[in-house]
Assembly symmetry: C2
Homo-oligomer: 221 residues x 2
Amino acid sequence: MPRTLFLSLFGRGYLDAVELRGLGQLATKVDFRAGKTIFSEGDPANAVFGLSKGLVRLYKSLPDGRRQVLAFAVPGDLLGTPLRERHSCSADAIGEVAAWRFSRTEFSNFAQTSLSMLRLLNHAATRDLEMAQELLLLVCQASAEERVTTFLVNWRSRFASLSTPSPVLALPMRRQDIADFLGLSLETVSRTFAKLHDRGTIRIVPKGVVLRENWRTPRAK
Amino acid sequence: MPRTLFLSLFGRGYLDAVELRGLGQLATKVDFRAGKTIFSEGDPANAVFGLSKGLVRLYKSLPDGRRQVLAFAVPGDLLGTPLRERHSCSADAIGEVAAWRFSRTEFSNFAQTSLSMLRLLNHAATRDLEMAQELLLLVCQASAEERVTTFLVNWRSRFASLSTPSPVLALPMRRQDIADFLGLSLETVSRTFAKLHDRGTIRIVPKGVVLRENWRTPRAK
DNA sequence: CGAAACTTTGATCTCTGTCAAGATTAGTGG
DNA sequence: CCACTAATCTTGACAGAGATCAAAGTTTCG
């Protein structure tokens, strides 16, 4: 049981050693092949997962196939809602994924009686809420170029903490995923990448980009 | 102290009588005139509020004035993040507002040590998250007409539980607020209302609308 | 009653979506 | 290891939904 993952999953300073050990006994290791669905919106939430390796897209769909990617989960993220009966979104593996699986009822029983775990879940839910609200602001008020540049900057800061420093920013997700995240068509995403490339702002490489300039977080139109 | 408000604020079945009484002693009554700002994004969160009367718009702004309305809060809603140092969005009174004010540190001290209060806050945060994600899906994937009709249906179901049944659905917020909520321009909102009116789907009355037909929650394009 | 604030309507423009065709890349079986 | 196929990505042409600019109409409120 990798102690460090559990620390990143369950926060530093929230749980004590006894609680961490208790949680460890509830977890089983699971793997998902590239593209596999981990759970689907509306399904009974029998389990929650602690992501330990790989990337997961969380999304909602409409009956006609339109899709909204809500977030890209990275190692250390908790997938699923421990205190809810049903999943409110779907989750797919992007590339190979490894995770710790918890029975939701066991996890919930544990959480409901632990002040520290409830505080931690609160913290996580609040963070997710703020991320969703930031995204809402972005997709409703920003141009295609702003959305893409903001996405790249934010992705870099999330990714930086997970990978060895490199000039190349990896983008393991598809253009379609980025498009569905930013509320754009994949063609517009591709064209915006091309525009930034032509301007010398980024360099496009297989499965990633190199950010060139003084990429401060953009906010103006 | 209106016991019923506290029940709607703090959920039925979460807190016991002792806890409710304790909370009551922390609260003071405050009023806000129409249009007044209750708190602003980035401000130190000295207080949280339990909304008892009126309507509040929660929003984020960009430096250039672009604005995203995140939600319209109604009586019974909690305003502000009890466990966060700073406000992550701004809140304005729409019309006259009455609320109970809690010192955030006092509220937080109470919450941090109460399993039931933490569960309740979790429930609230999760609900807010799901509402934000639904909105994200709506504004990214739906046409102007879908957004407006979905807004009206959702607003009716929230409003229905608060007011005496009436054929008229009150819309106390401005067109601009609806536009900033749905990621549209106010002209487009106005034109969409007009279109629905011409079609006989709604009737526009001062400060509200009458929904005409079998308004099932729309989802298709 | 009159001014300010808000809403509606009109005309025009533009950004981005849609449709379509190539170009790359990845995956697979011989 | 390479050829072949499928998937993904890029680029082009075009059109349309909605934004913007502008003005008139309506409501609100001192």
